[in-house]
Amino acid sequence: MINSATRLSSRLNSPRWLWSYIAAGAAWVAIILVGGNASEAASAALAFAAFTAIASIGQMLVMTVGGGSVDLSIPSAMTLGAVLSMKVMGGEGYLIPMGFAAAVLSGGVIGFANAMLVRWLRVPPLIATLGSSLVVLSIAIAIGHAIKGSPPAALAEAVQMKAIGFPVVSVIAAALAILVGVGLERTLLGRTLCATGQNDRAAALAGLPVWSARLAAYTLSGALAGFAGALLAAYSGGSSLDLGSGYLLLSIAVVVIGGTKAAGGEPAVAGVVGASLFMFLLVSFLNTVNTGAGVRILLTGLVIIAVVSGNAESKAR
C-alpha cells in the first residue's frame, strides 16, 4: 500500500507526537522569558498533567479502536472512582490499597459494560458511553451525598511527595504510559487493537482477536479513569461530585493534540503525555502574563483545530 508506506516514512521523519513536546518546551521557555518561576511552573504542570494523562491514555485506547469511537463515560468513571475509593478507605491508612482496588474495579466494570452496550445495542460508542455515563454519574451522586470523603492522612501526604525530583503522581503517570506503550507494541492484544483501528474487517479475517482487543480497550479506559479519579481525590483532599466534569472534552483534546490518529489505528502514548504537559504549561504561561481563562480556552480551541487541520494535510500529501 502506497498510503501506509508514505505514512511510515512520515512517521520516521517526524513523529506526530514530537510536536506536543516541542509545543510544551516552547510554552516552558515562554514562561522563563516573561520572568516566571520556571521550576515551580514545571513542577505544578507535571503534577496536574498527570491526572489528565492517566485518564487520556484510556481515551486514546478507545479512540484507537476506530470508527469514531470515543469514551464519554470517563468523567463519570473518575467521579465514581473518587467517591468509592474515599468511601472504602474511610480515612483509615490500612485500607488505602482496597480503596484504589475499588476505584479501578468500578471503572473496569463501567468500561466492560460500555463495550457490551456497543456490541449488543449496535449503537455508536458515543451514544452508548453517553447513556452509561449518566447512569454512573447518578450512582456516584447517590453514594457521594451520604459521605464526606477525605483521604487518609498518610495517603494525602504520600501523593504530594516528590520522587527523584519529580512529583510522585507524574512518576506514576509516566510508568503507566510506558506500560501501555509497551503493551501496544509488544502484545497480541495491543497489535490487534491497532490493526482493528486501521481495518477491522481485515483484522478479523486475519484471525486476530478483534473483539477481545475492543473489550480490553474499553475496560482499560474505564479502569484508568477510575484510578485517575481516586488519585485526584487523594491529591486534592477529597472527592467531589464534579471532580471529573472537566475531563470530558479535555481527554479527547489531549489525545488529538498528542498526534493519535483521529480515525483510529495509530495511537501515540508519548503524545498524550506531551500534550497533557503542554496544556498545563500553557495555563501557567498565560497565568504568568495575567491573561484570563477565556483567552486560554480560546487558544486551546484554536490549537485543536490547527492540529486537526495539519494532520489532514499530511494525509493528503
Binding site: 451514544i127 453517553l130 447513556g131 447512569v135 447518578s138 472534552l249 480560546l298 486537526v308
Partner: protein, 308 residues
C-alpha cells in the same frame, strides 16, 4: 406483523415513547394538563428542542456538532451583555457567530476534516469567547426577549408555539425543498451527489449555517427564560441534543433524520426529569433516568430491527 413494521418507521418509536411519558405524567399529576401546569412542565424545553434541531441538521450531512452547547451559551452571554453597550454590536456579533459556523462547515468539507474533532476545538473557542464576554455570571436579558418568552399565548404555552413554528419550518426545509434534498443527499451518498455535479461543500455550509441560526434562536429563548447568563449555561445541551436526535431515529451515518422524531426525542430527554420528580424518585437518581431511557429505547430499536 403490521404493528412491528409501523413501529419501524423512523419517528414512530420516539413519538410512542413521548406519548407514554406524557400519559404517566398526566396520570400522576392531572394538574399538569392545565395551561399553567403545561407551562411549568415545559419550563426549559424550547431551547433544548431548538438545540436538537440544530444538531439534527449537522447530523443530516453525516457530521456531529460537539460545539452547539457552548455556542448557545455564548449567544446567551452576548445577548445578556452587549445590548447595554450597543444593540448594533449585538446583532453584528450574532451574525458573525452564524458566519463562523458556516466557515467551519466549509473548512471541514474542503479539507476533509473529521467534524467531531473540529467541532471539539470549536467548542473551546465558543466557551473561551463567552468567558471573555461575560467573565462572571450575570447580565440582563433585553426586555423584549424576556417579554416575548413570557407571552401568554392562546391554547398552549408560548414555548410549544415556538417549537411548532420552528419545527414546521425545519420540516419543510428538510423534506420539501431542493436545499433539504441536497442536505439529505450529502449525508446519504456524498459520492453520488458529487458525480451528479452537485456541491457537497455547499450542503455542509448550509447545514452548519442552519445550525448556527437555530443556535442563536435557542440562546435567545434560553436567556429570555433565565433572564441572565453565564458561559456554562448550555454546555450540557451538546450531549442532550445528540442523544435526542438519535432517540428520534436519526442515524450517525447521515442522510436519515426525522424532524418530528428529533423533537419528540428532545421532549423525552426534557420530561424524563419531571416524571421522576412526580414519582417521588430522589433527585440523586434523576440523572440516571435520561441515560436509562436512552439505552432502553435504543435497545428496543435494535430488537425491532433484528425481528423478522
Amino acid at each position: 406483523m403490521r404493528l412491528a413494521s409501523a413501529i419501524r418507521t423512523r419517528s414512530a418509536l420516539p413519538l410512542l415513547s413521548l406519548a407514554l411519558l406524557l400519559l404517566l405524567i398526566f396520570a400522576l399529576q392531572p394538574r399538569a394538563m392545565t395551561y399553567r401546569g403545561l407551562g411549568l412542565l415545559l419550563g426549559f424545553s424550547a431551547p433544548v428542542v431548538l438545540a436538537t434541531l440544530a444538531q439534527m441538521f449537522v447530523m443530516t450531512v453525516g457530521d456531529l456538532d460537539l460545539s452547539i452547547g457552548p455556542f448557545i451559551g455564548l449567544v446567551a452571554c452576548i445577548v445578556a451583555t452587549l445590548p447595554a453597550i450597543s444593540p448594533l454590536l449585538t446583532v453584528a456579533a450574532l451574525v458573525a457567530g452564524v458566519l463562523a459556523y458556516m466557515a467551519v462547515g466549509a473548512l471541514i468539507s474542503w479539507r476533509r476534516l473529521p467534524a467531531l474533532f473540529v467541532t471539539l476545538g470549536l467548542s473551546f473557542v465558543w466557551f473561551g469567547i463567552a468567558i471573555i464576554v461575560r467573565p462572571n455570571p450575570g447580565g440582563e436579558a433585553p426586555e423584549w426577549v424576556e417579554n416575548f418568552i413570557n407571552l401568554q399565548t392562546p391554547v398552549a404555552p408560548i414555548q410549544l408555539w415556538i417549537v411548532c413554528v420552528v419545527g414546521l419550518a425545519g420540516y419543510f426545509i428538510l423534506q420539501h425543498s431542493k436545499q433539504g434534498l441536497l442536505l439529505r443527499a450529502a449525508g446519504g451518498g456524498a459520492v453520488a451527489l458529487q458525480r451528479a455535479g452537485w456541491s457537497v461543500p455547499r450542503a455542509r455550509v448550509l447545514a452548519y449555517g442552519l445550525a448556527g441560526v437555530l443556535g442563536v434562536l435557542a440562546g435567545l429563548a434560553l436567556v429570555g427564560i433565565t433572564t441572565s447568563a453565564d458561559p456554562d449555561i448550555a454546555t450540557r445541551y451538546t450531549l442532550v441534543s445528540i442523544a435526542a436526535v438519535v432517540l428520534g431515529g436519526g442515524e450517525f451515518s447521515g442522510g436519515r433524520v426525522s424532524v418530528p422524531g428529533s423533537i419528540a426525542g428532545a421532549y423525552v430527554m426534557a420530561l424524563a426529569d419531571s416524571l421522576l420528580a412526580f414519582m417521588n424518585v430522589p433527585a440523586d437518581w434523576q440523572v440516571a433516568a435520561q441515560g436509562l431511557i436512552l439505552l432502553v429505547v435504543l435497545a428496543l430499536r435494535a430488537f425491532l430491527r433484528s425481528a423478522p
